[in-house]
Symmetry: C2
Subunit: 417 residues, 2 copies
């Protein structure tokens, strides 16, 4: 490990948080917290209590003792990560389901506008969901996808050219899942509003890795997931945000009972709850919600400014290592060089990316993500990733190529379904 990494770890004000997570094997480099965050130790205790003391002993009474409020209670914590009001966020369902609810609601609220504008960096599942919503509502509604010239970024000017008085909604990933490009929240939201469009942000790859100020930017809608930097566990519940002024104007298309104003009156007519509560649908998954709460608490204890500062320092160290050791071995930087427009992961392209990633996983004990066509995506999670780990990751990435370790793996990628 380099002097530089050692010094950075020694001075890290967040160092103590690593001990809050289960790190079974210190030699395993886990640079995939941007895909599934590590297990907070507190989540083990919380789930144990939930399962044995609450489900096991309190049984149905648990609904009156905290379960029913969990989507809102966790929402108040996510709200602090988003920079929005405590009453304006719900934790429930999956990102796909929440995106569907909000896109359908927005399109129905403004039937005179026919397009949704997005970009080519958008997470594909979001494209599928939005396209599905447009098809469902029909008419001549359509999706406008702004291309990316370099595959890494989209200039604001290109977006501006696509947004017009026919745009109902601009929907973008704040941090791009592949390149890590980060949009300027204020600038792009204002751009949408200039044409009267509403702005929806998917913050899956931002939330918990940097401060967000969605209310200050006057964003209208947002969704995000709980299993990345929030450390909520596999398939953790997702969240949604609706600007307060819009909450009572929008209609949740999935009219489940928990979005009803008085669900236990069992009336036959649906009367939506006031405010954000109407965006609930079915019964929330209490176990998965409980698993998410400790991760939220840890982020709030650490503070998002410190998290972002460490995230930038970690990715800067990784990029310095790339420049010195990896670029000469054929690795390309497939993320923005300037930290202001880069999230908490770095993509490195390589002609042998697929095979290198196999070697990293299977013999070099480095877990990242492969993303087609040639990207190795390395995420740093400031609560538990160390600078020494980043240094060691660079060394292993170099070894995979220098020692030709990747050559023993087949070049064909299986189709993963």
């Amino acid at each position: 490990v380099s002097e530089r990494a050692r010094a950075l770890d020694a001075a890290d004000p967040l160092a103590r948080f690593r001990g809050e997570f289960v790190v079974g094997d210190p030699d395993l480099l886990y640079l995939d917290g941007n895909s599934l965050g590590r297990l907070p130790r507190r989540a083990i205790a919380r789930l144990g209590r939930l399962i044995e003391a609450e489900w096991g002993e309190r049984l149905i009474r648990g609904w009156g003792e905290g379960w029913m409020e969990a989507p809102r209670r966790l929402g108040t914590k996510v709200a602090r990560l988003l920079g929005v009001g405590a009453d304006d966020v719900l934790v429930a369902d999956s990102t796909s389901v929440n995106l569907f609810k909000l896109v359908v609601a927005a399109l129905r609220a403004r039937p005179e506008r026919r397009t949704v504008v997005t970009d080519a960096l958008m997470f594909p599942s979001d494209l599928y969901v939005i396209q599905g919503a447009l098809d469902l509502l029909g008419g001549d509604r359509r999706l406008v996808v702004v291309p990316s010239a370099d595959g890494l970024t989209v200039p604001t000017g290109a977006l501006a050219a696509a947004v017009d008085r026919d745009t109902a909604l601009v929907a973008l990933c704040h941090t791009a899942f592949k390149s890590s490009f980060v949009y300027d929240l204020d600038e792009v939201t204002a751009l949408a509003h200039r044409s009267g469009a509403w702005m929806l942000w998917d913050v899956c790859h931002s939330v918990g890795a940097m401060p967000l100020a969605l209310a200050a930017a006057e964003a209208d809608l947002a969704v995000g997931c709980g299993y990345k930097y929030l450390n909520g566990g596999p398939g953790a519940p997702a969240f949604l945000y609706v600007r307060p002024e819009l909450q009572d104007r929008l209609r949740n298309p999935i009219q489940g009972w928990l979005g009803h104003g008085a669900p236990f009156d069992f009336d036959s007519a649906y009367v939506p709850a006031p405010g954000i509560q109407r965006f609930l649908a079915g019964t929330p998954p209490v176990l998965s919600l409980a698993a998410l709460e400790p991760g939220l608490d840890l982020l709030l204890e650490a503070g998002l400014d410190r998290i972002r500062a460490k995230s930038v320092a970690l990715t800067e160290l990784l990029i310095a290592g790339w420049e010195a050791e990896l670029a000469p071995l054929g690795y390309a930087l497939s993320s923005p060089r300037g930290s202001a427009r880069r999230g908490s992961h770095v993509s490195l392209g390589h002609a042998e990316g697929w095979r290198i990633n196999r070697a990293l996983l299977e013999e070099l004990r480095l877990i990242g993500d492969f993303r087609a066509p040639d990207n190795i995506r390395l995420g740093v999670a400031p609560l538990y990733t160390t600078f020494a780990e980043v240094d060691e990751a660079v060394a292993r990435l170099a070894r995979a190529v220098r020692d030709r370790l990747y050559e023993k793996y087949p070049a064909e990628r299986p189709t993963i379904t």
Copy 2:
């Protein structure tokens, strides 16, 4: 405890299953397994392993080691409870979200038919979801609600009069949540089909309490929840069934990535997976799925015929106790008398139902459910409810009235939101 109850417990072939569940306080009568099933001991071990060994140590690799298949793997087990093919069920999302997907899909597949027929015994949330789907698709689509003359049952003739060539879908709860009335699956499904309508069954209050034969009945669609007789825990994931012939004709309106044919190719266009997989949307809640699996295994080990036989014997004992001890105290039987048309819960009406239920909960250690206007709903779960418990419940219900214990509780019901 009566001789009769003692003898029934002694002869119970399912008696050993009670030991598979956490029963902390044997004096607490839990007759609410129809609302939230008890905690299977195996679920504690399964969740412990999932959390510490899988999430904690295997991290993202867990997706390649069983998590991704969980919605289908659990689906094969639920399929046996439904009497359908192993490949025709998914476990995912909530009942509300699944119902929404299927109702929207069915209505879009047959735009020439404008109505959904249901009945006044339907679970209100289902009415809300269906009404929401009808409003969303618009046109002159509408809901037809067949009334119940006695509030307990709906005769097949009344349904038959409402279903015609304009009916796209007949959607009913197989077991009514309040009265426990059970429809004849075969007869009602055939009735729908005679007019060319499709048949959707909500089996929330049936599944796991009695054998179902949805494929033999030629049912088209079904949904149900995991937290009642399946013992999957609070907010457990729900399931959906689609008749094989319809799977590739129907379109999931919520086009999330896990319903895509090749989600990890990250193509920009949505191409639905073949078969039932297309009805997945977002990333499934792995923790909550894991919690559900042990309960499914226990039901399959016990066998649904034995479960149904014990369920009938338990509700018969309860009704015999009502007739002898409770009817004279003003309790009315608000469930069908004949066991063939009765599910695994019994509703007892009483003018002081609300206050009696408070007394039962707060001093008589009997947990049931109050359902407006005057019903005390008592559910028996054959895997862990004993005949002695039913006997004792009758005694406590009698005491609440005979000793006027309810009088100290206010008559006004708070609005629970």
